[in-house]
C-alpha cells in the first residue's frame, strides 16, 4: 500500500514535470496576449514575428536534441551553421539555384557534423571535446571563406532571389516537415529508444550490445540536417552573411532545449518537443520584455534567472527517486 502510494506520487510528480514546460509556454502566451492588448501591440505582426524568430532555433534545436539525448552537447552548432550558410550562399551565387543552395547548406552541415562525431569515435574522446576543437576550426574557416570570396567582409545573396520564399508559411512547412521526421525517428523507431538508453547509461547500453559510436554519428547527422536547414532559413531571412552570422544560435539552442524541459543529462526523459516549447517560450519572454521596454541588461538578467530556476527545478526531479518507467 505504501509502495503504491509512493509510485502514484512519483507518477504525479513526473506528470507535473512533464507538463510544466507546456504550462509555462501557455502562461507566457497568456501574459504576452495580455500585454499586447494593454500596450496596443500589432498582434498579427507579432505572431508572424514570433514564428520568424523561433523557427531557426526550433529547427536547429530539434536536431540537437539527438545529441543532448546522449548526454552530450555540441557548442559548435552556431559556427557550423555560419560555415554552411556561407558555402550555401557561395553555391547560389555560382549557380543561381535555390535547390543547389539548400542542398549545399545541408550537405556542408552534415559533413561537418560527421567529421566531429567520427573524430570523437576514432580518438575515443567525449563528443563535446571534439566540438570545442571544431568550434575553433570553423571560426577560422569562416574568416577564410569570407576572405576568399573577395567581397569585403560579407557574402551576399541577392535579396530578390530569396524574397519569394521569405514567408512564414514556407518556413513553417520546412519546420513542420523536419519536426515530423524527427518525432517519427525519436518516438517511433528503435533508434530513438536506443539513444535514450545510451544517454541514460552508456556503459549499460554498450554491454547490451549497442554501438555508442554509431549512435553518436547518427545523432550528429540528424543535428547536421537541422543545422543545414537553419543555415538555409537564415539566408532566406537575412541574405547578407558575415563572420557574426548565427553567432548566437549555439547559446539560443542550449537555452531553448533547457527551457523546453529537456534534462541536461539526456537519457530516458529526453523529449523531442522540448526544442519547440523552449524556443517559443524564449521568444515570447523576449517579446514581453520588449513590450515593457526593459533594457537589454535587465532582460538578459531575467532570462538568466529563469534559466537557472528551470535547470534547478529539472535537476530536483533527479534520479534520487525511482527511475521513470
Amino acid at each position: 500500500m505504501d509502495n503504491e502510494k509512493i509510485v502514484r506520487k512519483e507518477h504525479v510528480k513526473n506528470l507535473i514535470f512533464q507538463i510544466a514546460p507546456i504550462v509555462g509556454l501557455l502562461l507566457l502566451f497568456g501574459l504576452f496576449m495580455a500585454f499586447a492588448v494593454i500596450k496596443d501591440i500589432n498582434i498579427p505582426y507579432s505572431m508572424k514575428n514570433i514564428i520568424n524568430q523561433s523557427v531557426i532555433v526550433v529547427v536547429v534545436a530539434t536536431g540537437a536534441i539527438f545529441i543532448y539525448t546522449l548526454g552530450s552537447f555540441d557548442i559548435s552548432l552556431g559556427a557550423n551553421m555560419c560555415v554552411s550558410a556561407l558555402i550555401g550562399a557561395m553555391a547560389y551565387n555560382r549557380t543561381g539555384s535555390l535547390a543547389v543552395m539548400i542542398g549545399t547548406c545541408i550537405l556542408t552541415a552534415v559533413l561537418i557534423a560527421l567529421v566531429c562525431s567520427v573524430l570523437a569515435s576514432v580518438f575515443n574522446l567525449p563528443v563535446f571535446v571534439t566540438t570545442i576543437a571544431m568550434l575553433s576550426l570553423l571560426n577560422a574557416a569562416v574568416l577564410m571563406l569570407i576572405g576568399a570570396n573577395g567581397t569585403g567582409d560579407i557574402i551576399q545573396v541577392p535579396a530578390e532571389a530569396v524574397s519569394a520564399i521569405n514567408t512564414v508559411w514556407f518556413k513553417l512547412i520546412i519546420m513542420l516537415v523536419y519536426l515530423g521526421i524527427c518525432i517519427f525517428v525519436f518516438n517511433f523507431l528503435k533508434l530513438g529508444r536506443q539513444e535514450k538508453f545510451a544517454g541514460g547509461n552508456p556503459e549499460c547500453a554498450r554491454l547490451t550490445g549497442l554501438n555508442n559510436s554509431k549512435l553518436a554519428i547518427i545523432a550528429f547527422i540528424m543535428a547536421g540536417i537541422g543545422v543545414g536547414l537553419g543555415a538555409f532559413l537564415t539566408i532566406t531571412y537575412a541574405p547578407t552573411l558575415s563572420r557574426n552570422t548565427a553567432s548566437s544560435v549555439g547559446m539560443d539552442v542550449i537555452i531553448s532545449i533547457v527551457f523546453g524541459g529537456m534534462p541536461v543529462s539526456g537519457g530516458a526523459r529526453s523529449k523531442i518537443y522540448s526544442a519547440v516549447v523552449g524556443a517559443l517560450s524564449m521568444t515570447l519572454l523576449s517579446q514581453i520584455m520588449l513590450m515593457l521596454n526593459l533594457n537589454s541588461g535587465i532582460s538578459q538578467m531575467v532570462k538568466a534567472i529563469i534559466f537557472i530556476l528551470v535547470v534547478f527545478i529539472s535537476m530536483s526531479d533527479g534520479r534520487k527517486s525511482i527511475l521513470p518507467r
Binding site: 567582409d153 537575412a238 557574426n244 537589454s296
Partner: protein, 405 residues
C-alpha cells in the same frame, strides 16, 4: 475678511497675468518652437544599435533617453547589441510589432535590407552618425520612408585621420604607430581615417605608401592589400607599426604593447578606441591621438597627459536626425527641393588640450543643457532643406554655442 478678498483677487489677477504671459510666450515661440509639433500623441521610435556598451554608444543613448525623451512625447525602444544582418532584421520586426513609427539606426550590417523592410511596413527610417554609400543613396533617396542620414561622410572621416596625423607631423614627429581599428573588417569609416593618416604622412614625408599618395589612390591601395596593412617607410617619415582588428586576445594586446614599446615610435595614432588600445602601453614621452568620443575617461586621460589629441563625436549630434525623423512621422518631412532624402555630413569636435576637452565634455554630457536643446531643434521641425542643412553644417562647438545665444 476684506483684506483677505483683496489678497485673493490680487493673487488671482497675478496668476491670470502670469498665465496669459506664459501663453503668449509659448504661443509666440510655438510659431517657431513647436510650429505644429504634436506633443499630444506619443511617438514610439525604435533605435538599432550595433554597440550597446561602448562609451560613445552610451552617450548617444543618454542624450535620447535622458534629454529628448523627457522633452518630447516620444518613447525610444532600444534593440539589443546587433551583430549581424539577421539580428537587425529581427530587431526591426520587433519594433514594427510594437507599433514604432520610425527607426533610427546605428547598425550597418545590411542597411539596404533595413530600409526595404521599414519601407514595406510604412515605418520611417533614418541613419544616425553614418551615411549610405552613393549607390545605396541613389536607390533609396526617393523612398518616402527613408528620412536620410546625418553623420560624418567618408571625406569627413578621411579628414579626421588626415588632420590628426598632420597635427603631429607639423610638430616635427616622424615615427608613427597606427591602430587601424576595424579596417581589416572592411569598415569604410576606419579605412578612410587610416587613409587620411597615410596621405598626411605621404605629404609630409615626400614619399608614397604602396604607390599611393592621394585619397583615391590610398583607398585603392588599402583595398588592394585586402585591408591588411603593413609598416613602411614613407619618404622621411615612417609607419613603424601597424595593428588592425579587435581581437582582444593576448596576441593582439602583445602587438599593441610591442608597438608602444618600440623605442623608435614617437606617436601612437588610433582611428578608434585609442584609450582601449594604446593608452595602457604608451610611454610618457610618446604622444597619443585618437578619433573617439567625449567621455569622462577621455577627459581624465587628457588631464593626465595620456591623451593629447581627441577628435570626438558629440552625443547631441544625433539631435538633428531625431528632428528630421519626428518631422517625417508628423507629416512634415524635410526633403531636398527634388524631394530627395537627407544626406548631410557632420564632423568632429577636436580637442588638443585638457581644458578644451573638459569644456566639450561638460556640454556633451549635460542632460539639461546639451549641445542641441529642444528650443534649437524645434526651429527646424519640418524646416526647409537649406535651413536644415545649414543648421547641421554648423556643427563645431563654437558654432553651436553661437546658435544657442
Amino acid at each position: 475678511m476684506k483684506s483677505f478678498k483683496k489678497v485673493l483677487v490680487l493673487l488671482l489677477s497675478l496668476l491670470m497675468v502670469v498665465s496669459m504671459f506664459g501663453c503668449s510666450k509659448e504661443g509666440g515661440e510655438s510659431g517657431q518652437k513647436t510650429d505644429g509639433i504634436d506633443d499630444s500623441k506619443n511617438v514610439k521610435i525604435g533605435v538599432l544599435v550595433a554597440d550597446a556598451t561602448g562609451a560613445e554608444a552610451l552617450a548617444f543613448r543618454s542624450y535620447y533617453e535622458n534629454y529628448i525623451q523627457k522633452q518630447y512625447n516620444v518613447t525610444f525602444m532600444y534593440s539589443d547589441e546587433l551583430s549581424d544582418a539577421a539580428a537587425e532584421a529581427s530587431a526591426i520586426d520587433n519594433f514594427i510589432a510594437n507599433n514604432c513609427k520610425a527607426i533610427i539606426s546605428f547598425a550597418s550590417a545590411d542597411r539596404p535590407a533595413q530600409i526595404r523592410k521599414c519601407a514595406e511596413n510604412k515605418v520611417y527610417y533614418a541613419v544616425a552618425t553614418g551615411t549610405l554609400s552613393d549607390d545605396e543613396y541613389k536607390e533609396f533617396k526617393d523612398n518616402e520612408y527613408y528620412v536620410g542620414a546625418i553623420g560624418p561622410d567618408l571625406y569627413t572621416e578621411f579628414m579626421a585621420g588626415y588632420n590628426m596625423a598632420k597635427h603631429y607631423l607639423d610638430q616635427g614627429f616622424t615615427k608613427f604607430a597606427v591602430f587601424g581599428g576595424a579596417t581589416p573588417y572592411y569598415v569604410d569609416m576606419h579605412i578612410y581615417r587610416t587613409a587620411g593618416i597615410l596621405v598626411a604622412m605621404c605629404e609630409a614625408g615626400g614619399g608614397d605608401y604602396n604607390g599611393a599618395k592621394d585619397m583615391g589612390q590610398m583607398i585603392g591601395a588599402i583595398y588592394g592589400m585586402n585591408c591588411q596593412l603593413a609598416p613602411a617607410k614613407i619618404g622621411n617619415v615612417e609607419l613603424v607599426s601597424y595593428i588592425g582588428g579587435y581581437d582582444f586576445d593576448d596576441a593582439w594586446f602583445g602587438k599593441l604593447a610591442e608597438a608602444a614599446n618600440n623605442p623608435e615610435t614617437e606617436v601612437l595614432l588610433a582611428v578608434g578606441s585609442g584609450l582601449d588600445t594604446f593608452a595602457a602601453f604608451k610611454r610618457p614621452e610618446q604622444k597619443l591621438g585618437t578619433v573617439d568620443s567625449y567621455t569622462a575617461d577621455a577627459v581624465k586621460a587628457m588631464e593626465a597627459g595620456t591623451l593629447d589629441y581627441l577628435a570626438g563625436k558629440f552625443s547631441a549630434s544625433i539631435g538633428p536626425i531625431f528632428m528630421a525623423t519626428l518631422s517625417a512621422v508628423q507629416g512634415k518631412p524635410i526633403r531636398t527641393a527634388n524631394g530627395e532624402a537627407l544626406a548631410l555630413s557632420q564632423g568632429y569636435w577636436v580637442a588638443t588640450s585638457a581644458d578644451q576637452a573638459k569644456e566639450f565634455y561638460s556640454v556633451d554630457s549635460s542632460t539639461t543643457d546639451p549641445a542641441y536643446t529642444r528650443p534649437m531643434l524645434d526651429k527646424y521641425f519640418g524646416a526647409a532643406y537649406d535651413d536644415f542643412a545649414a543648421f547641421v553644417g554648423a556643427y563645431s562647438y563654437e558654432e553651436i554655442q553661437n546658435l544657442k545665444k
